[in-house]
Every structure is written in C-alpha cells, then in structure tokens.
C-alpha cells in the first residue's frame, strides 16, 4: 500500500504528514513554553474556573482536534483525489499492471495516512498540553477520537469529489462539508460544556463509527468508479 501511495504521489503525502505534525508540535510547543515562561497560562483549567469563563481549555482542545483532523484529511486525502484527475488524464498510470487496483490501493493508503496524521496531530497537542499541565491525561483519548472522526468525515465526500468533473462543483462540495464540520464543531462545543466525560466518550465513539461507515461506503464506491473509468 505504501508503494502504491508513492507510485502515484511520489513522497509528497508522507512529507505533508510529517510537516503538519512538526509544524503543530513547534507551534504549540513554542506557544506554551513562552506562555508558561510569562506565567500567563500556568494552569488554564484553574484560571478558567476562577474567572468563571464558559469555554474551558478541554473544549478548546477537542475543537482544535476536530479542525486539525479535518485539515489533515483535506491536505492528504484531498491531494490523493487531486492526483486522480492528474493521472486520469495521463497515460503513464495505465501502462502499469493492474493500475486501477493499484490506484485504489493508493487512495486507501492516503486515507489511512490522513487518519494517522489526524491522530498524531491531536496526540502531539495533548502531549504538549499535558507536559505543561494544561490538560488532564483523561482528555487525550477524547481529542484523538474527535480528530479521527473529523478526518473520516472528509472521506465521505471522496466519491462525489472523484466523479465531479467541474472545479467549481468540487469547490461547492468542499464548502458543504465545511458547513458539516462547523455543525459538528458546534455540537462538540455544546456537548463538552454540558455532557459528562463518559457520555462524551460514547458520543465520540458513535460519531467515529458513523463517519467510519460512511467513509468505507464512499471508498468502496470510489474504487468501483475508478475501475469502471479506467477500463473504458
């Protein structure tokens, strides 16, 4: 699968994944180190409670994980989908033995890479926050779960993205999913404020399962579409 990803996307997707994790690590690491040094956010949870603010750092972390999860899927799986348009028009790909199966394998590989990146991104943030006592270790699975669910959400639209020939229509499709992500983020925002940890964990699991099923259906359909398209 890794070989298939590299054949069609060179090493670009792997570099993107590593770059995203490194940038987030540097960004958060530097930010928190500077913040702690300045004595501004020694214990954000405590500060939030004392100030009586409605948005707790845990809520912000989960929302951040959702957004980053979606961005990782958009950057990595989106590039893989984009590669379909490029290779679909070029003859090189079809001279490879079982190119259609190989491309499907490449697409699935890219999706897995994007999910791993989503988990890694939330892992990096939670690790840094735990290191600086800004969050509890208990919140780490929640952040990873919601990040994974958000990246899986993007996979649901890969089938229409593959068969949509016009660039404008694809842009419109992406906009629709952005609205969906906004809805999920808002729901998460309210849920983290009102629901208990266990219920939040269960709802995160249900969301991941639902988006996962959607992603599998969309991926299978995409592979069929690629096969049908390339064998014509």
């Amino acid at each position: 699968m890794i070989k298939a990803v590299r054949i069609f996307n060179s090493n670009v997707l792997f570099k993107t994944a590593v770059l995203m994790v490194v940038i987030i690590a540097l960004f958060f690491g530097t930010g928190f180190a500077l913040g702690v040094n300045a004595g501004e956010n020694a214990d954000l949870s405590q500060q939030a409670e004392q100030a009586g603010e409605e948005i707790s750092p845990e809520t912000l972390n989960i929302i951040m994980s959702c957004v980053l999860g979606y961005i990782s899927a958009m950057a990595i799986t989106g590039s893989a989908v984009n590669m379909f348009y490029k290779t679909d028009g070029c003859k090189y790909a079809r001279t490879i033995k079982n190119a259609d199966k190989l491309f499907c394998s490449s697409l699935v590989g890219s999706q897995l890479l994007s999910h791993l990146t989503a988990i890694a991104l939330s892992g990096v943030i939670s690790a840094i926050m735990t290191l600086f006592d800004c969050t509890k270790a208990l919140n780490i699975p929640l952040m990873m779960l919601f990040s994974l669910a958000s990246s899986l959400l993007f996979d649901i639209i890969i089938r229409p993205l593959l068969s949509t020939k016009s660039g404008n229509a694809r842009f419109f499709l992406l906009l629709i999913t952005l609205f969906f992500v906004s809805a999920v983020v808002s729901a998460v925002f309210i849920a983290t404020q009102t629901l208990s940890y266990q219920i939040l964990l269960i709802s995160g699991g249900i969301l991941t399962l639902a988006t996962g099923i959607g992603a599998v259906i969309s991926t299978v359909s995409s592979c069929r579409y690629i096969r049908r398209n390339w064998l014509s």
Binding site: K3, R6, I7, F8, S10, N11, M83, K86, T87, G89, C90, K91, Y92, R94, T95, I96, K97, N98, L231, S232
Partner: protein, 301 residues
C-alpha cells in the same frame, strides 16, 4: 515470420464519428514497425489498445505469441510506452518520474534513466527544480523517451517519438532504435507512429499504412518498395497512363502518381519514367489512394 503482437479482427467503437477496425496486423518480431496515417487515422488508439491504456470493443490480441490481455502475466512489464503528450502528470519533476517508474516497473534502471537524459542534453541536475509543464515539448519528449529506454523491455511502443524533436535528436533517436533492435538479437521490437516519414525512413523495417480506422496496406518496407513504382510523364499522356495508375496527379508541366510494379513495362512503353519509391513517397501516394477509395465508397452509398 514470428510476430511480437498479432491483432485479429480488433475493433474499437467510440461513437458514430469514429471507429477503429476491424484491424488485422501481425507486427514482426525483431523489427521496427512504422504506423503511418493521416491525423485521426487511429494510430494512437491502436497503440493505446496494445498497451492496455484503452479497452478494445472486440477482437483478439496476442502478446509475444500468447493470446490474452495486457494485464496478464508480465506483459505490461515487457512493453515500454511513450506517448506523444500527456504521459506523466504535468506537475511532476524528473526525480518524481524516476521514483514512480522505479516503483512501478521492475525492469526500470534509475541510473540508466539519468544517463540517457544526460545523453539527450537534459541533465537532471540542471532541470531538477522544474516541473514537466515548465519544460518545452521537445524536452518533455526526451524525458518520456528516456523513461521508456531505461526499462528492460522486449517491445517499445512509441507514439510520434520524433514529432517534437529537432533533426539532430531525431537522427540520434533513429540510431537508438537500431541499437535497441540489435541488442535484442531478434527478440526486441519497436512499434512507432510518425508523420516525419522521410526523417525516420531508415528506422522502419515494416510499415503499416492506416486510413480512417482501417489498415490499407502493410508489409516490409523493401517489399512495398518492390511492389509499387512512382511514375512521372508528360501531361498529354494522361489518357493512356491513367488506367494503369493507382493515383494520378496532373499539373500543367507534369503527370505523376503511383502504380503497381507489375505494370512497369506497359507504363514505360507509353513513355512514362519510373522510379523506385521512398517510403515517404509511397506513404503519401498510398494515403491518397485510400482517400480516393473511401470517397468513391461514400459516393456509392
């Protein structure tokens, strides 16, 4: 004659505007075959079907003596392909081509690829920051040709390889064709399409002339040159000669055209001057003949 590829009643239907075939061709093994035809004759479609890029509608293809599909066994591994355009994604750089080819094909030699590029005046170091879309058509074709020649193959299928090359590079390409054929000891073959017949005449051992999706003539170049003759005569001899000629062009000063070699003596008796055709002359006249027959067929309909 042993054939590398044999097409048996091959048909490809797109829509009402164009269909290919039925095509019957036996490409000889150990030789270089030129596909010659007007634009839209079906040369690229034919090559795409052979390489498994486009699916056939009907008919049978035998690869290296075995009937089957391009995806069967190691067939695709044994066929190198170079398209006239749109071979690789435009955003790729030379190193991406090398990486992808080395992963996709076992017989691809990366070092050989870079050495071939350097020999074609496309040093990878100089062009490493440029994507293929930033290179000229000629440079892109050189990258494409190097990627095909860098593989360990038994057959090369090249779609208009000389089209965007300069005359010097076209000459070198012909030399490379010879080297490739000679290195195989009768086992390596080339199928290429061209419009620059004069430039690539020495590279064509076998010729297939196509018109409007059909094969109108095929054979070894030397045999075809023996089969036909080019005629030139005074214009006032038109009435006597035209019956013996396959194609006939008449200007105020000269009558010229193509005829069968078997009529040579009769034509000479009528004052015609005959000469052995070059492949270029032969191709043009045979295409004219195909067009004439097609138009009369359409008129009958």
């Amino acid at each position: 004659m042993e054939e590398v590829i044999k097409l048996d009643s091959l048909i490809k239907k797109y829509d009402r505007s164009f269909s290919l075939g039925p095509v019957n061709i036996a490409f000889p093994k150990g030789f270089s075959t030129a596909l010659i035809g007007a634009n839209g004759a079906g040369k690229t479609t034919l090559m795409d079907i052979i390489c498994g890029i486009t699916a056939k509608t009907d008919g049978e293809i035998s690869y290296f003596g075995t009937a089957g599909d391009a995806d069967d066994g190691d067939t695709k591994e044994r066929i190198g392909y170079c398209a006239s355009q749109g071979m690789f994604p435009a955003g790729w750089k030379i190193k991406d081509v090398a990486l992808s080819m080395s992963l996709a094909f076992e017989g691809f030699d990366k070092e050989r690829f870079f050495a071939l590029l350097a020999g074609m005046d496309v040093p990878a170091d100089k062009y490493k920051r440029k994507s293929l879309s930033q290179l000229s058509d000629g440079m892109r074709m050189r990258v494409c040709l190097a990627s095909a020649f860098a593989r360990d193959t038994d057959l090369l299928v090249l779609d208009e390889p000389g089209a965007s090359l300069d005359p010097l590079m076209r000459d070198r390409l012909c030399e490379r064709f010879r080297d490739y054929i000679d290195s195989g000891n009768g086992k390596k073959s080339i199928i290429f399409s061209t419009h620059n017949i004069a430039d690539m005449e020495n590279s064509a051992d076998y010729a297939v002339i196509m018109d409007n999706g059909e094969v109108t003539e095929q054979g070894f170049t030397e045999d075809l040159k023996d089969k036909y003759i080019i005629i030139s005569a005074e214009p006032d001899r038109k009435d006597e000669l035209s019956g013996l000629m396959l194609t006939c062009s008449c200007s105020a000063s000269m009558l010229s055209g193509l005829a069968l070699c078997e009529n040579k003596e009769k034509l000479m008796a009528h004052g015609a001057v005959t000469e052995r055709p070059t492949l270029s002359q032969l191709s043009v006249e045979l295409l004219k003949l195909a067009e004439k027959r097609r138009m009369s067929k359409e008129a009958q309909k």
